[in-house]
Amino acid sequence: MVPLSWYVALGAGLFVIGAAGVLLRRNVLVVLMSLELMLNSANINFIAFSRFLGDLGGQVFAIFVITVTACEVAVALAILVTVLRNKATLEVDEIAIMKG
């Protein structure tokens, strides 16, 4: 069986890659995608610990994380479409205020 530390290391690696995308990229769409990556790496940890502890709570929390992520993406993309209608830019540094 693959040891738990490998899964945790994979989760940490994906989290750092996602954080790099959030901090370094200028395109707001890619920033949102990197955010999805970070949430998914947390899910890997939840399910790995659920498997190794023999407790189903981790899987239930992964389901909640997926639910909240779906909501977040829907609202974020709706905000993005509205912002783009007013400002016509995708760069994160340009979209510093929410007021159109």
Binding site: M1, V2, L4, S5, W6, Y7, A9, L10, A12, G13, L14, F15, V16, I17, A19, A20, L23, L24, R25, R26, N27, L29, V30, L32, M33, L37, N40, N43, I44, I47, A48, S50, R51, F52, L53, G54, D55, L56, Q59, V60, A62, I63, F64, I66, T67, V68, T69, A70, C71, E72, V73, A74, V75, L77, A78, V81, R85, T89, L90, E91
Partner: protein, 187 residues
Amino acid sequence: MARTPRTDSGAAIRIVFQGGTMETAFFLLFAGMAVLSALVVVVARNPVHSALSLMVCFVQIAALFILLGSPFLAVIQIFVYVGAVMVLFLFVIMMLDVRKDVHVRFRASAVPALIVLVILGAEMLALLLGSGHIPALSAAAGPDVAGSVKELSLTLFADYLLPFEVASVVLLVALVGAIVLAKKETG
């Protein structure tokens, strides 16, 4: 007589699988693919390439969920992330004109962010290597209760019923909020 080699090879395969060699190989394959596609998400010039690469990464993570004995979560992962979230992303990418800022990928002041990232990675590595609990957990893995969808649904609807209802309310609020936000203002 003809049957003997077949049972032998079957037993050999079972021994290899119990030894975990095959599982380790699959883990390394899926993890390597996931990390590579995640890197492509971050460095790709075209947002469409980022989205497709992120889709590959999600499929690899779903395969890892199957490896961890939770097929239900793997199916949910494919349905929600690959099926809904990524289609939403691609729809928005193709609806918007994204060819304007293709030429500059990264922000100008990258050094503080890189320092933060290095510190973050080193911290997590130090915690992982310094923890005594994680090897102890791997050594004494709990019972494999995770495979059963029935057990999962019992846990979800008995112990976590209130959070489940709250999650449905959150979904409804997000639905209404997205519609209200994306609606064109009249007048």
